[in-house]
Symmetry: C2
Subunit: 354 residues, 2 copies
């Protein structure tokens, strides 16, 4: 009896601690040397002990047999911000805020200082895009179901892009544990954030410079050359090119890019969305078949929504299979080592039956 | 008999293929948009089939019970370039070229073009630093044994830094499979490369700018503030400060930095090397104890050896425990998410007994 009581009390304390943790904002902190940002997501905070190898394994295993995303209401997920239904009024896709967001809704971004350092509140939005079937990953979905995912990306993008303190929206998908997916149920994530990502900034600057020197979009130049040389193309349809990039960051990296110049993902029309769904599904299916259902990430790079124009950018999707682990050299230098030529990888993927 | 023959023939063909692959230089390819480099290490090339999930597992398992580094001669490693012995003439540490180098010795770097793209031969040096005891990782070594490792780093650095086509030398250590260590025997790696790493370039530029604006080294400013605020320091001795950086890229990230301003790792004296060995060993031991022998990488950031002066840089070592997996958001944006405040991590590490 007294054991029961003490157990109850413990649970209460833990939930108090949790809500205390949750009420804290997450922080964006700037590296004083490089200017890059990191997120200290205290809303997801664990105790220091929870980072120990054994403890992490226990936590992983304890969540193995539950699925939060099959029954979002029953497992206490946040309220949907978007829901698609089929003709029987059954949901097929839904979008809801992440219960443990890396960025938290707030009216305005507060900046702060600590000694020589700068930071700001991690204000923004962090949403989950869930397709219904627990078993069906994108590789095995119908094209129309993939198009629903693209529709949801675009719907949410348009809804979030003009909100206060949103300057960039990152849409991405993690598949498999080695790619950082902590929940098996297929899902994508959308993060609307107050800063423009360093990698996209690099691409924006590169595109700007290339245009200044060549009066031409750098991505259009890449597309033109890939179509001429045909060494690295694995699929194309009317509107999209699917290829392994010349300077692949990982073995079997694949890009999906619109053939016509277009900086803004959110302006894509219905026909293009269908074509994108087809191209993306085929790319992922080929990777799935060739590499035996590997873990992978894909993510969208599109022009920022900070109110400025980016006429020389060209949106695209990058797919990174996690076929190797980035080790000390890659983490230290930012130079990735890949052990297969993109031309060989592309030829192999091209010959895989869809 | 005929089966035997065909088997032999097959082996011959395979070894021919291997030597053909090995004779090809590795390539550095430049991302046309960002200017960043990747390495296509064809000397380590695998067949496309070998990247499949199941195949990768088989390859890993097949090498599990061999140790190339306990008996480098017997397992056909390259000839030593450096060897340290104890008073019984037994080797304690040796350095030899990597049998499957990401960069390959060559007289000069040849540049090439393909359509709009640029690349160059992956000319350079790739060496392995091996301590003798298979079981003893750095966390469990005596300080003097760690000093031998530092000595070897510096010896090899000085030997390689003035060679043709070497502009940057990256020294790093991978521990554990999740950190990309493919061989269990404790070892570090040295890569002498023709390009300056993008991350170090960012740091060089940041240090330069900070000095222009503040007439002060940015790393010295960090050290000064950390010593004043004492929130993130976990250890210090005469010459080195060990702390969790304000903008940590991962939970429990730790930096080891010389307190006095010094751009060049290779100029460190004997006393400082001992102090560094102590600081590094204690930092790693604390991480080992706190996180239950986690996988980690550490790497050196020092001024390039391209013949130019970098008076405003300040060399340091970064230790990154692999407590979480960088997923789509991190890979896409370059913004890392950490789920513990560096202040909390530092306090926890500080209180761990050495």
């Amino acid at each position: 009896m007294s054991e029961q009581k003490s157990k109850e009390k413990k649970i209460k304390i833990e939930s108090n601690e949790k809500s205390k943790l949750k009420s804290k904002l997450t922080e964006l902190r700037q590296d004083l040397v490089t200017g890059d940002w990191v997120v200290i997501a205290t809303s997801r905070a664990k105790r220091p002990e929870d980072f120990a190898r054994q403890k992490r394994k226990e936590i992983e295993e304890s969540t193995e047999h539950q699925c939060y995303f099959c029954y979002p209401e029953e497992t206490g997920q946040e309220k949907d911000v978007l829901i698609y239904q089929d003709s029987y009024k059954e949901w097929t896709l839904r979008v809801f805020p992440n219960k443990y967001p890396a960025f938290i809704r707030g009216k305005r971004v507060k900046h702060f200082e600590e000694g020589p350092y700068f930071g700001m509140d991690g204000v923004g939005y962090h949403e989950i895009v869930v397709t219904r079937d627990h078993q069906k990953q994108i590789a095995n979905l119908e094209v129309l179901a993939v198009m629903e995912i693209i529709d949801a990306y675009q719907d949410r993008y348009i809804s979030l892009m003009n909100r206060k303190s949103v300057n960039y929206i990152e849409i991405f998908h993690n598949h498999g544990q080695e790619a950082g997916a902590s929940i098996n149920h297929p899902h994508s994530q959308i993060m609307a954030i107050p800063v423009i990502s360093p990698y996209v900034q690099l691409e924006l600057k590169g595109a700007e410079n290339y245009h200044k020197n060549n009066k031409y979009c750098v991505y259009c130049a890449i597309i033109k050359w890939e179509q001429e040389s045909r060494q690295r193309i694995i699929f194309e349809n009317d509107d999209f090119l699917v290829f392994c990039p010349y300077a692949s960051r990982a073995a079997f990296e694949v890009w999906v890019i619109p053939k016509k110049h277009q900086p803004y993902f959110e302006r894509m029309g219905k026909k293009e969305k269908f074509q994108l769904a087809e191209a993306l599904q085929i790319a992922i299916k080929k990777i799935y078949t060739a590499l035996g259902d590997p873990a992978y990430n894909f993510y969208l790079h599109t022009a920022p929504c900070d109110g400025r124009d980016y006429p020389h950018f060209h949106w695209h999707i990058e797919i990174l299979p996690r076929t190797s682990i980035w080790a000390g050299f890659e983490l230290s230098t930012g130079i990735e080592i890949s052990t297969i030529e993109p031309e060989v990888a592309a030829q192999y993927l091209k010959n895989i039956e869809d």
